[in-house]
């Protein structure tokens, strides 16, 4: 798939000496939903702020659809819409005026029909004449999305889009992101809510302490790292694992009342059938069984808990 944003060896050290980004390289593909995961202070916002022109990089290069974000900033920025993390709106303007203002600011001629549809899609139409300071936090979040989409961008950055929003808005926002993806818009969202990435993303990047430590297809990541576990409640507690079952790497729990089989999910599902047959053969009966899978959150926690690996280009799946 074609690359739409190319980030090469990007670093940012702030005036106080804090290194927010360390040699980050990343390719974002056209039309994908990319989730950038990381704990607070990991460098997510710095990364997207550099791409959007809000922060000056210390070293490195970023291109947006082939346009350098510094030398050819007009073409690069015209393609991007940004929904910031904070509810940063004017106070006294009306919804209609502020969204129309954003469209003009990004160099697009007035198109009232488009703005009307956008406000309707975001359930803002009946608030179009309301002053921004009169709106609730959720409504302000919708206004920020409308502003970001007002100039029909091809790339949308959502910085912590569902931080502090209610369930309804979160669901609406997920639907909106999918609709945008269906129209070819590339969506990059930063989040520390794993369920958000799990729900929406095509690919996931994990950033920790300014370094990108992993980029992977979400499904492949779950497959590779999201190990599964089969738990059997035994009819009779075992003292030890029978030698005949040694190759499965089984372990006992709850005083021998549970037998646990961990497998990595990469084609080992068939081994369960073999295991159950062999259990029957050695006379071990069970009253119940269930399987569990590591969530993206478990994977994330284990990744950021480990020291960041050496910087490397991580745009493509290995």
């Amino acid at each position: 798939m074609q690359t739409i944003i190319s980030i090469s060896e990007l670093s940012k050290t702030y005036a106080g000496g804090f290194a927010a980004l360390k040699q980050v390289s990343l390719d974002i593909r056209r039309g994908e939903i990319f989730a950038l995961l990381g704990p607070n202070g990991a460098g997510k916002t710095t990364l997207i702020s550099i791409v959007c022109g809000l922060v000056t990089p210390s070293t490195g290069r970023v291109t947006v659809d082939g346009h350098d974000i510094i030398d050819d900033y007009r073409a690069a920025r015209a393609m991007i819409g940004l929904v910031p993390q904070e509810l940063t709106t004017d106070a006294f303007e009306s919804v209609w005026n502020t969204v129309s203002f954003s469209r003009g600011l990004f160099g697009k001629p007035a198109r009232p029909g488009y703005i009307e549809q956008l406000l309707k899609d975001l359930s803002l139409w009946d608030k179009k004449d309301a002053k921004l300071m009169m709106l609730s936090g959720g409504m302000k979040r919708r206004v920020l999305i409308a502003k970001a989409l007002s100039h029909e961008p091809r790339i949308l950055f959502l910085d912590e889009p569902t931080a502090g929003v209610d369930v309804e808005l979160r669901r609406d926002m997920w639907q909106l992101v999918r609709r945008l993806r269906d129209t070819g818009v590339t969506v990059i969202l930063t989040t520390h809510y794993i369920e958000e990435a799990e729900e929406m993303a095509d690919r996931v990047g994990v950033i920790s302490k300014g370094a990108l430590i992993l980029v992977e297809e979400k499904a492949a990541l779950m497959q590779k790292l999201g190990g599964k576990q089969l738990t059997l409640q035994l009819q009779t507690a075992l003292q030890a694992i029978p030698p005949a079952l040694a190759r499965y790497g089984l372990r006992l729990a709850k005083g021998g009342a549970e037998l646990i089989y961990a497998y990595d999910g990469e084609g080992e599902e068939t081994a369960i059938v073999d295991l159950l047959q062999e259990l029957s053969a050695v006379g071990i009966g069970f009253s119940d069984l269930h399987t569990t899978q590591r969530s993206l959150e478990d994977i994330f926690v284990s990744l950021v808990a480990e020291p960041a690996s050496a910087p490397q280009r991580m745009g493509e799946v290995s």
Partner: protein, 253 residues
Amino acid sequence: MNWHAVRAIYLFEMARTRRTLLQSVLAPVISTTLYFVVFGSAIGGYIPEVEGVSYGAFIVPGLIMLSLLTQSVSNASFAIFFPKFTRSIYELLSAPVSHFEIVLSYVGAAATKSVLLSLIILATASVFVPFRIEHPLWMLFFLVLTALTFSMLGFILGIWADNFEKLQLVPLLIITPLTFLGGSFYSIDMLPPAWQTVSLLNPVVYLVSAFRWSFYGSADVAVGVSLAMALLFLAVFVAIVMWMFRTGYRLKP
């Protein structure tokens, strides 16, 4: 040029003036009217002519300049400070807009507002005192030049200030005293020689002098010198704004 952006910012700023019409227009007009009533009509009647015109007429250019300078600075400084304060400036900084376009639209809107206000005050003054304008085109030229120059200063102030106190501090402690001491209410010829020399360090003296010359044909400082000084101030302020954008001073980390 991103003309759509320039237009959007310019109209957005002008709309703010319409929303705050009382504060933006009526308040300066009323305060200037009070100056005319007190200094022009009440006290002015006891003051002999200055440079061949009645005192009431003499202070007209100075009072307009007083309003023009303070309004230009406050309009432009607030225009860029407020988005910084609300952090909505992220949108401006991430838009495909050049530094020149940002300055053109913000400073252009601030200067437009203060020029319009000055013309309203001029019309108001005509109700209270008779005056003449010998060089109307030069009068308009100096009006626009001064509005642009001090809107640029206001823009710098708005970027520099990181709280409302600082935003008020410069107009209150620097602009207003310089304007009062810059010959708005007197000719610097009326000062002792030593103070005349000190006055020449005050940039506002040149602006008031040139503006008054466009009304009555006489000036404290040669018009050419005043013009050169006004252009110099503009050039200095433009250079500072360029430096601010180039380095991202208080705009981009």
